[in-house]
């Protein structure tokens, strides 16, 4: 059933990482990503691995969950790996048959690439695993707030995100209900050609859209009645607060990054 989909992939737990200021978590994740892709040297991968291991341990997220996050991209990994393996030419040749050639360069790059993508997914998953979507939205709004001066609708975008997150479960439930109701009137959604099946979606999509519009209208009225008038002069219940743990985590990431840069220059 549609209801079984879990959204946001947030795992509430009591850990240092969960308690961190989401803004810092975002900045640190961005730094981590830059570091991963900085330079073609092994050091950046080792540093990235160290980072992910420490972050996982601190977050108390079971490593199984990290592995699980990589699963959906396995096909992408295979394609990328194979492409790099066969396409790149250079160094010793390990294997050659007709036009297919596997070289030292190819093997190295493809392993590099795979490890890098895995680390990338693991690192970003850690961010969403340890931060609730609503807090994440708040943090993004806060980080982007300088853009307000450039007339970017930062607050409005964040509010839209929040409302979307709020209504996804409601609309999923509603879709279930409408589907059952139309099936009770003999709607056939399981058989027929592709076009027939697309046609069979109309009795579900139209009521769903109508209902979404009605909800939007009522919600807008309710928000207006509760004195909503845009982001101006708004305060927040949960203020984002940074503390020692955030500074330490940031300092650690920067140091790690610096070490990668220095090692890269020295080893070049």
């Amino acid at each position: 059933m549609l209801k079984d989909i879990t959204l946001g992939q947030y795992f509430p737990m009591d850990s240092v990482v969960h308690k961190m200021d989401a803004r810092y978590k975002i900045i640190i994740t961005l730094l981590f990503l830059v570091m991963l892709f900085w330079g073609q040297h092994l050091t950046s991968l080792i540093a990235g691995l160290i980072f992910v291991i420490i972050a996982t341990v601190c977050s108390k997220i079971p490593p199984k969950m990290i592995v699980k996050s990589i699963k959906p991209i396995v096909p992408i990994l295979i394609v990328t790996g194979l492409l790099n393996l066969f396409m790149l030419d250079g160094g010793k040749t390990y294997f050659a048959w007709k036009f297919i050639k596997i070289t030292e360069q190819g093997v190295q790059t493809s392993i590099f690439m795979l490890v890098r993508i895995c680390l990338l997914i693991a690192g970003t998953s850690l961010l969403t695993y340890t931060t609730s979507p609503i807090v994440l939205t708040d943090a993004i709004e806060s980080l982007l707030s300088p853009l307000k001066k450039l007339k970017m609708p930062v607050h409005e975008l964040a509010m839209m995100m929040t409302i979307a997150l709020r209504f996804i479960p409601t609309l999923i439930e509603e879709t279930d209900k409408i589907m059952a109701a139309q099936k009770a009137r003999g709607a056939d959604m399981e058989s027929g050609s592709l076009i027939q099946r697309a046609h069979a979606l109309i009795p579900i999509l139209i009521p769903l859209f109508v209902s979404a519009f009605r909800r939007a209208e009522e919600l807008a009225l309710a928000m207006e009645c509760r004195c909503y008038h845009g982001g101006e002069g708004r305060t927040r219940l949960r203020e984002l607060k940074s503390g020692m743990r955030d500074y330490i985590a940031l300092a650690f990431t920067i140091l790690l990054f610096a070490a990668v840069i220095v090692l890269n220059i020295l080893l070049h």
Binding site: I134, L165, R166, T170, C225, C227, Y228
Partner: protein, 282 residues
């Protein structure tokens, strides 16, 4: 003392659908006054104009003719809009479509955030409001994990956190099961009694109106009756003609009275009815 809300000869028409049609007049000259601390039901069937009347009370709609004032402020004063809405909060029928945030406490805080309450004070007011409606234990729940009655209590908490003088509830129980109805009615009676908040309950359920101190019957955009519930329901035929129910005990007594038996026309509860009928047998 100044009246909380006054409505003077208010008319309201929705604009015509096309050029040839006439505008639809929904309210035809309504005059009412609401005092501080009242528990009032506005009773009417669907299309009687009761919801439109509710929307005049916090300047969601402005009367096309006549005047509405809230604590002395004319609702037409556009720059006082936020002030008016802090005086008069509103709860709507569909509990799902008025909850904005993804957790209960964030939603209760929504109004306070809008009017710029500092976050430390907000924390206190959110917690108090949640305790007042008995939803404090659920403060970290997501709205879709709650029952209809609980969601409606969260919506009420979101309003009372703003410390309004008055809450207008527009058919707050229409989509709830009996359990949810009980919860909501208990909550609003408590808010009225213990916190002195004026409650204006828009409803078509006679049993809910019977729990209020004053019942205003609206029909075809006009006020037909305005009295205490016992008095209003004693007009059994008139209520029927309007398309509204009366409590079954009142109806029973009315049938017996028509047959010539002497019974108080203002009996509403089963207990009082049994008592009075038993006397006939003595």
């Amino acid at each position: 003392m100044e009246k909380l809300i006054t409505i003077e000869n208010a008319h309201f028409s929705y604009p015509a659908a096309d050029e040839n049609a006439k505008p639809v007049e929904v309210l035809k000259g309504i005059s009412l006054e609401f005092e501080h601390g009242e528990l009032v039901a506005v009773l009417g069937h669907n299309g009687s104009g009761k919801s439109t009347l509710a929307k005049l009370l916090n300047a969601v709609l402005l009367p096309t003719e006549g005047k509405v004032t809230v604590t002395g402020i004319d609702t037409k004063e556009e720059d006082k809009l936020l002030e008016i809405r802090q005086h008069v909060g509103m709860v709507f029928q569909n509990p799902d479509n008025q909850i904005v945030a993804t957790t209960v406490e964030e939603d209760v805080a929504f109004g306070l955030e809008n009017i710029g309450v500092p976050s430390a004070e907000m924390r206190v007011r959110v917690d108090q409001a949640l305790q007042a409606v008995g939803m404090y234990e659920y403060r970290e729940h997501a709205p879709h994990q709650l029952s209809g009655g609980q969601k409606q209590r969260v919506a009420i908490a979101g309003i009372i956190a703003m410390r309004p003088d008055c809450i207008v509830l527009d058919e707050p129980t229409a989509m709830l099961d009996p359990q949810g109805r009980k919860e909501v009615m208990r909550t609003i009676r408590l808010l009225n009694r213990d916190y002195g908040i004026t409650v204006i309950l828009i409803t078509h359920e006679m049993d809910e109106a019977a729990q209020c101190d004053r019942v205003i019957v609206v029909d075809h955009g006009e006020v037909r009756m305005d009295a205490k519930p016992e008095k209003v329901f004693s007009h059994v035929q008139k209520m029927r003609a309007i398309g509204l129910d009366v409590p079954q005990p009142t109806e029973l007594c009315d049938l017996l009275r028509q047959a010539g038996y002497d019974l108080d026309p203002e009996i509403m509860t089963p207990e009082a009815c049994a008592e009075a009928v038993a006397k006939l047998f003595q």
